[in-house]
């Protein structure tokens, strides 16, 4: 019996922190793997429209983005306030889209090309003229699978 009573009065030992770096490293690796660092800075303001029937973009590596919207405040002097197209990190014209799509295709594996999606991030106040032109260019470039990026709303009924 004395065997058990011996430790009863002893203080609790401090919790060892030797494994703390390991735990932190584990978290670190998790976040490093999951991170996709946003590689474009937005030059245009995009207020996405709202919709209910959404599909998720599963493979981010297969998505190419086209941004359309009025230029941010610091660019209004040079580019005006009318909606503009942004591809990668610069303003672009509609006629630049086929080249952009070709460049996006060239940077992907050949087997993945049929699964590529073009995500249109368009400001909700943009006129359809520019969107129609973009769609026409995408059709010419045979990039037919598109995704109108929008925010989720709860269905009204």
């Amino acid at each position: 019996m004395s065997k058990f009573r011996k430790g009863a009065s002893r203080e609790l030992p401090a919790i060892s922190t030797a494994s703390l770096p390991d735990i932190v490293f584990m978290l670190l690796f998790f976040f490093m793997v999951t991170t996709t660092i946003r590689d474009v800075s937005l030059l245009v303001k995009v207020q996405l429209p709202e919709a209910t029937e959404l599909t998720k973009l599963e493979k981010k590596s297969l998505v190419s983005y086209i941004y359309v919207g009025p230029p941010q405040k610091q660019y209004t002097k040079t580019f005006g306030t009318e909606p503009r197209i942004q591809l990668n990190d610069q303003f672009a014209k509609v006629s630049d889209i086929p080249d952009y799509i070709l460049a996006e295709r060239a940077s992907r594996d050949e087997a993945e090309i049929p699964f590529m999606v073009t995500s249109l991030k368009v400001d909700e106040l943009t006129k359809m003229q520019i969107v129609g032109d973009i769609k026409m260019e995408l059709r010419k470039a045979a990039a037919l699978h598109i995704n109108y990026s929008s925010k989720k709303t709860t269905p009204t009924n």
């Binding site: 770096p21 919709a51 998720k56 359809m128 129609g132 598109i146 109108y148």
Partner: protein
């Protein structure tokens, strides 16, 4: 030879924490989502325009959007909120009405002979239409198709469309086709 002193590893946790915080803040966990559509293929250059048979008036559900974001469906001004019901009625043709689309019996695996609607939804927008409005209309049309498919799946298989097996989904897709065609935009009424 002198023994090299051991590098203290007490600060390792701090360095790791710093990196960790950087990656946590840089992570964007939000999933991109949107309305998925497939654009029609470009017609071949030398194709004649009128080799497709004309579609009967009753088989077309015309949706027009003008530059003031007004919506006209089948010749009447309509609110976006009412579009979904109207589109569903068009696709199902519950009362076999004369004005709603014809059906064509088709042999579908798992379902047998089924009267598939010949209806086509035709969407035409103006150059001046706002994108937000256009997307709202697209959303309602897609929602109508999805709802009809869901109801049909519940009736035939007792499950929602999303819970069906891939063969069942294929059958439902064939029975309730999603034919939303977009006409070339026009400038409807007035100057731009």
């Amino acid at each position: 030879m002198r023994k090299t002193p051991e590098i203290p590893s007490a600060s390792m946790a701090d360095i790791a924490f710093m990196l960790l915080i950087f990656f946590i803040t840089a992570t964007s966990m939000d999933v991109d989502s949107g309305l998925e559509r497939v654009l029609p293929q470009m017609p071949p250059e030398n194709q004649d325009q009128d080799d497709t048979p004309p579609i009967k008036e009753r088989n077309v559900f015309s949706v027009l959007l003008d530059q003031y974001n007004r919506l006209m469906v089948e010749g009447e001004i309509m609110r976006v909120e009412d579009l979904r019901e109207k589109a569903k009625e068009f696709m199902t043709n519950p009362g076999n009405s004369e004005n709603l689309p014809e059906t064509k019996p088709t042999e579908i695996p798992l379902l047998g002979n089924f009267e598939v609607t010949k209806g086509v939804i035709s969407l035409r927008n103006d150059h001046g239409t706002q994108y937000g409005m256009y997307l709202a209309v697209q959303n309602e049309l897609v929602a109508a198709v999805n709802e009809v498919r869901d109801e049909f799946s519940l009736e035939k298989f007792g499950k929602k469309y999303a819970d069906l097996t891939s063969e069942q989904k294929e059958a439902v897709r064939e029975a309730i086709p999603s034919r939303i065609s977009e006409a070339e935009p026009k400038t409807i009424g007035g100057k731009k």
